[in-house]
Structures are given as structure tokens and as C-alpha cells.
């Protein structure tokens, strides 16, 4: 049962990340469209600028939970690597709990703001008037998913024999050098 839930959760974070990746590409598309139409057709699209700013927020909070599960957020392993495994574990547990609390505070505070935006029907104070909640809602959602991701990390530190090694393997699995592309090419 628990494994199914974890599996579904990991799949959700992956899909969030895929949407974030697709947004990156789409963003290049609409900015280019805006520049070209502005120069050649004298036809400005004020939404393009705003949409790009909102997309950055979405990319960050959609992508961050998956990146966290892959242990690809920059962190300093300098000290951790030389510690004995038992202390690594204790430190990992403390760090995960602190991070869970931080993400929950973030989710709580941004969630309260989000509710106010919905109740007050607050709009973005810009030329392109859309409800403020649309660009904003991903921050509390993403923070909550990050808190859950840290709970998975806490579980790893509690149950695994060598949690740091598992994290290192995960981080390096996602990091190809591009070598294989070159081999294919020749």
C-alpha cells in the first residue's frame, strides 16, 4: 500500500517536471513570436512579457520537487562525506526535519495568501489582467510537494543502510556527459 502511494507520488513529481520542461521550450516560442511580430508587423503582444515572468515561477515550483527527489539541488557534501555513517544518518534526519518544517511554513504562508487572492477576486495589476491566483497557485502547491519529497528523504535516512550512497547514485544517474551522443554521431 505504502509503496503504491510513494510510486504514485514519484510519478506526479515526474509529470510536474515534464510540464516544467515543456514550459521552458514553449516560453522560447512565444517570446520569439512576440519579438518577430513586434518588429515586422508592429504588433505588440503585452501578454508575452507577463506570461514569461509567470512561467519562470511555474518552472521553478513544478520542477523543484522532482529535482529534490533526484538529489540534484546544489548542496555541500564536503563535511558529510568524511563523517562516519551513523552521524551521517543523524545529520540527515535532522536536516530533513528542518527542511520539512521550512517547506510547510512556506506552503502555509503562501497558501493563506492564495486563499485571499481567491476570496478577494484579486487581479494582477498589469496590462494583461488575469486573476492573481493563476500565476500564484503553484507556489503553495509546489512547496507542499517539496515538503512531501523531504518526508521521502527522511524515510530514506531512517530505513536505508547507506542513505548518502543512494543519494549520490541518484544524482549521478541523471547526469550524462553527452559522451554517448558523440559516439552515436560517429
Amino acid at each position: 500500500m505504502l509503496n503504491t502511494i510513494i510510486d504514485v507520488f514519484e510519478r506526479i513529481t515526474l509529470w510536474m517536471a515534464i510540464v516544467a520542461a515543456a514550459l521552458t521550450l514553449a516560453m522560447s516560442g512565444w517570446i520569439t513570436y512576440d519579438v518577430l511580430t513586434r518588429y515586422f508587423l508592429d504588433w505588440a503582444s503585452p501578454w508575452a512579457f507577463d506570461l514569461s515572468e509567470y512561467a519562470l515561477v511555474w518552472i521553478t515550483f513544478l520542477g523543484a520537487p522532482w529535482v529534490l527527489l533526484q538529489d540534484r539541488h546544489v548542496r555541500i557534501e564536503l563535511l558529510v562525506d568524511v563523517l562516519p555513517r551513523s552521524i551521517q544518518r543523524v545529520l540527515g534526519i535532522i536536516v530533513s526535519i528542518v527542511a520539512i518544517c521550512a517547506c510547510l511554513v512556506l506552503a502555509w504562508k503562501t497558501g493563506v495568501a492564495a486563499l485571499q487572492y481567491i476570496e478577494g477576486d484579486i487581479m494582477m495589476a498589469r496590462i494583461w489582467r488575469i486573476p492573481r491566483i493563476w500565476p500564484y497557485c503553484i507556489i503553495p502547491i509546489g512547496s507542499m510537494v517539496m515538503a512531501l519529497s523531504f518526508i521521502l528523504r527522511l524515510r530514506l535516512y531512517l530505513t536505508n543502510d547507506d542513505p548518502e550512497a543512494v543519494l549520490t547514485t541518484r544524482a549521478s544517474a541523471g547526469q550524462e556527459t553527452g559522451h554517448e551522443n558523440y559516439e552515436e554521431m560517429n
Binding site: 519562470l56 515561477v57 523543484a64 546544489v74 527542511a99 521550512a102 517547506c103 512556506l106 551522443n181
Partner: protein
């Protein structure tokens, strides 16, 4: 002197959290929560709600994902390797040919992309097998790849440059352009160094009979990479001519890269997928770090630590240039132990107010910092590029890689010295577009 204890508290907590192995972005977010609570009370925590949106919802940050995407696309479609091949043809029979190709290829790829890790991986995988076959020693092979790879940080487009510009609140277009001449100067220094070394110690890079190529063939290779040169025009050229902002030219650069890759028939679904996921990973990481660090800067300011520090430094009877040198030394020292992004986050919020107060050109200062950050990637014992290198060349001992990195470190310090004596090298191009 209450601000001193505040500063010690903030940095003490920050360093403790970083050393504990907590992901840096979350360490900053935690610190913000603690700081807000301590200084402004629990009600102020709602500031998190506004700052987490406004810190990253900024048009000027758009080049971060898009410059990275450009580099990733070139790397995954294999077009990056073509630049090295073309440079290699043109270098011909000079002593230390493959080392020079690495520097030249690194310069060209640096002008096409903004990620030094991708650059080192690309140069490593394309040139190392050939270097091994030709009996190059690590002093020439590893050294030249670290040198060529690091150039991407300085030569625009540079994602790290955009991040630095955003943190330091300087004009990103000016900062990117300011990196061009120092980048080319550094490439020239490398070129001279490897040529002389190969000439004086031929056993390090045994000369071999490269098949001689006709001028016609050289022109043909130039023709095959000319669409890539067009990309440089779209990105750096448009910024320079003021046709587009860095964000707009980054977007057009991505679209142009896709078109070029499709023309070469290299745009596969697999390459696109890998490039996008890798870009998303790096961008989400960098942007979340900005969410945390923006709060940190505000916290330092709100507690009064920043202004007190600025007043205190302003009252010191020390020549500003010595302060700049001291700051460089701090960054260099940090670079031996922690990664590039963490260094920026710790130092920039403290350095920039002082720099502005002293009336020092912030763009010039940022370029010096950028060179130091590039250096941080290769300074032993913990430079990240050294580990990428180790990954590419498994058989080398770490000590051999360290030894090979030393001359590159020294050349970069030489560059910093040159830029301090002749600041015009940095300021010339930004001034040109300002007028």
C-alpha cells in the same frame, strides 16, 4: 556593535546549514524564516508570500533557463562536437595541436552556450580519446580541457553571468558584453601558454604527422559550421546591437538552435527530451536558490547589518583597491571548498553594497568575481570541473588532475591582475552600447 553579532549569527547559521549537507536553497529559505521571525515577529512571515513570487517572476532572469537550453541542445544533438572539429582543421600542424583545439573549441562553444560543465564534458569526450592515442600527457590534455571548458563562464551567453547580474542588480546586457574581451584575452593567454609549453617540452605533446589538409577543405569545414556562427550573431550580436534584450535574444537563440539542428538532421526526439529535462533540472535548482537568497539579502538589510557594515568599511583608511583584492581573496579561498553558486549567494549580498558605496564600477567588479567563480570550478581540492574531468578520464589519479589544473589557476590569476591594471578591457564594450 549589535550588527556584528547579527552578522555572526546569520553567517554562523548559514555555514552550519550548508555544512550539514542541506540543499543550499532550503538552507536559505530556513534562514529567512528564522530571521523574519526573530527580527520582525511572526506576522512578518507573510512577507515570504510576496517575496517568493517577486524574486523569480522577473523577465531579466529568463536567459538562465534559455541559455542553458541552447547549450544542452547543441550538446545532445552532437553539434557541439562539430565546432571542435572545425577549429582542429584550422589549427593544422602547430605544436600542441590538440591542446590548442581544446582552447579554440572551448572559446567557440563558450560563445554558443552558457554552461561550463557541458563544455568540459563536450571537450573531454571529443578530444580525450584522440589525445590519449597521440600520447599527450595530463599537463597538456587535462589542463587544456579545463582551460577551454571554463571559458564558457566568461564568454557570453553565460547563465552564471545572468545569475550574478541578477544577484548584484546590475544591467545583465552590460555584464554579458563586458565578459567578451576578458574571455578572449584569457583564451589568448591559454593559447600562448600551450604553444610555448609544447614547443619547449615536446615530450608532453608529441608532434605527429597530421594529414595535411588543403585550404579548400578548410573552407569547406568553415562552411559546415557557418550556421552555428549565425547563432552567435543571433544571441550576442543582437544584444550588442541593442536589437533585443538578453531575454529576447536567448529565446530566439533557442529557436534558431532548433532550426539549425533540424537542418543538420540531428534533431531527434531523444536529444530534445534529454536536453529539456537536463535544462529544467539546472534551471529549477538555480531559480529556487534565487528565491532563498533574495530573502537573505533583504534580511541582512532589514536587520541593519548591511548599512552598518558599509559605514564601518567606509570609515576604514584602506585604499579601495586593497578591499577589492581582499574580496577576491575571500572568493578564491571559498572556491577551494564550496561550489560556484553557494559562493555567489554568500558573498554578493555583502560585497555589492560596499562596492557601490566606494564608487567602484559594479560591472568591472562583477567580471572580476566571474573570473574567480570560473576559477572556483577548477581550484583543488573540490573544484566541480575537476570531478567532471575525473569522470571523463577514469584512469588518471586525482593528484595528476590537480597538478594539471595548477597552471590554469595561475593564468586566471594573471588575468585578474591584468584586468585590475587595465579596467578598460572590461568597461570598453558596455560603454560603447551605453552611448
Amino acid at each position: 556593535m549589535e550588527w556584528v553579532s547579527d552578522l555572526v549569527l546569520f553567517f554562523g547559521l548559514l555555514i552550519a546549514m550548508m555544512l550539514s549537507g542541506m540543499p543550499v536553497a532550503f538552507g536559505f529559505i530556513t534562514l529567512n524564516i528564522i530571521g523574519l521571525y526573530l527580527y520582525l515577529g511572526i506576522g512578518s512571515l507573510s512577507l515570504l508570500a510576496t517575496s517568493s513570487f517577486s524574486s523569480i517572476g522577473q523577465f531579466s532572469l529568463i536567459p538562465i533557463p534559455l541559455f542553458i537550453l541552447m547549450g544542452e541542445l547543441l550538446l545532445r544533438t552532437g553539434l557541439a562536437g562539430k565546432t571542435v572539429e572545425a577549429v582542429d582543421q584550422w589549427i593544422g600542424r602547430l605544436p600542441g595541436r590538440l591542446s590548442l583545439s581544446s582552447v579554440g573549441g572551448g572559446t567557440l562553444f563558450g560563445a554558443l552556450s552558457g554552461a561550463s560543465m557541458a563544455s568540459v564534458a563536450m571537450l573531454g569526450s571529443t578530444l580525450v580519446p584522440e589525445m590519449a592515442k597521440r600520447g599527450y600527457k595530463p599537463e597538456m590534455s587535462v589542463s587544456s580541457i579545463l582551460a577551454g571548458g571554463g571559458l564558457a563562464v566568461l564568454i557570453p551567453p553565460s547563465a552564471l553571468g545572468v545569475l550574478l547580474g541578477a544577484l548584484a542588480k546590475v544591467s545583465i546586457a552590460e555584464l554579458l558584453l563586458a565578459g567578451i574581451l576578458p574571455g578572449l584575452l584569457l583564451a589568448t593567454l591559454y593559447f600562448l601558454y600551450f604553444s610555448f609549453r609544447a614547443k619547449l617540452q615536446p615530450h608532453l605533446a608529441p608532434p605527429y604527422d597530421a594529414p595535411s589538409t588543403t585550404i579548400g577543405f578548410k573552407l569547406y569545414t568553415l562552411l559546415t559550421v557557418s550556421p552555428l556562427l549565425l547563432l552567435i550573431m543571433v544571441v550576442t550580436g543582437f544584444i550588442f546591437l541593442g536589437i533585443a534584450t538578453p531575454s529576447e535574444s536567448a529565446a530566439m537563440g533557442v529557436i534558431a538552435t532548433l532550426v539549425v539542428a533540424a537542418c543538420y538532421r540531428r534533431l531527434t526526439w531523444d536529444a530534445l527530451k534529454k536536453a529539456l529535462m537536463s535544462t529544467m533540472t539546472t534551471s529549477a535548482m538555480m531559480l529556487l536558490v534565487i528565491v532563498g537568497s533574495t530573502g537573505f539579502g533583504q534580511l541582512l538589510a532589514a536587520s541593519g547589518a548591511t548599512s552598518s557594515l558599509v559605514t564601518w568599511v567606509g570609515a576604514l583608511v584602506i585604499a579601495p583597491i586593497l578591499l577589492v583584492i581582499a574580496m577576491q581573496c575571500i572568493v578564491l579561498l571559498l572556491g577551494c571548498f564550496i561550489d560556484t553558486i553557494s559562493i555567489m549567494l554568500i558573498s554578493i549580498p555583502v560585497f555589492m553594497p560596499i562596492i557601490l558605496d566606494l564608487g567602484i564600477d559594479p560591472i568591472w567588479f562583477c567580471i572580476l568575481i566571474l573570473v574567480q567563480l570560473e576559477l572556483a570550478g577548477i581550484t583543488p581540492p573540490f573544484g566541480v570541473l575537476l570531478f567532471v574531468m575525473k569522470g571523463v578520464q577514469q584512469h588518471l589519479r586525482v593528484s595528476e588532475i590537480y597538478r594539471a589544473a595548477m597552471p590554469i589557476v595561475l593564468l586566471q590569476i594573471l588575468l585578474v591582475a591584468i584586468l585590475m591594471i587595465f579596467p578598460q578591457i572590461v568597461t570598453m564594450l558596455p560603454e560603447l552600447i551605453r552611448n
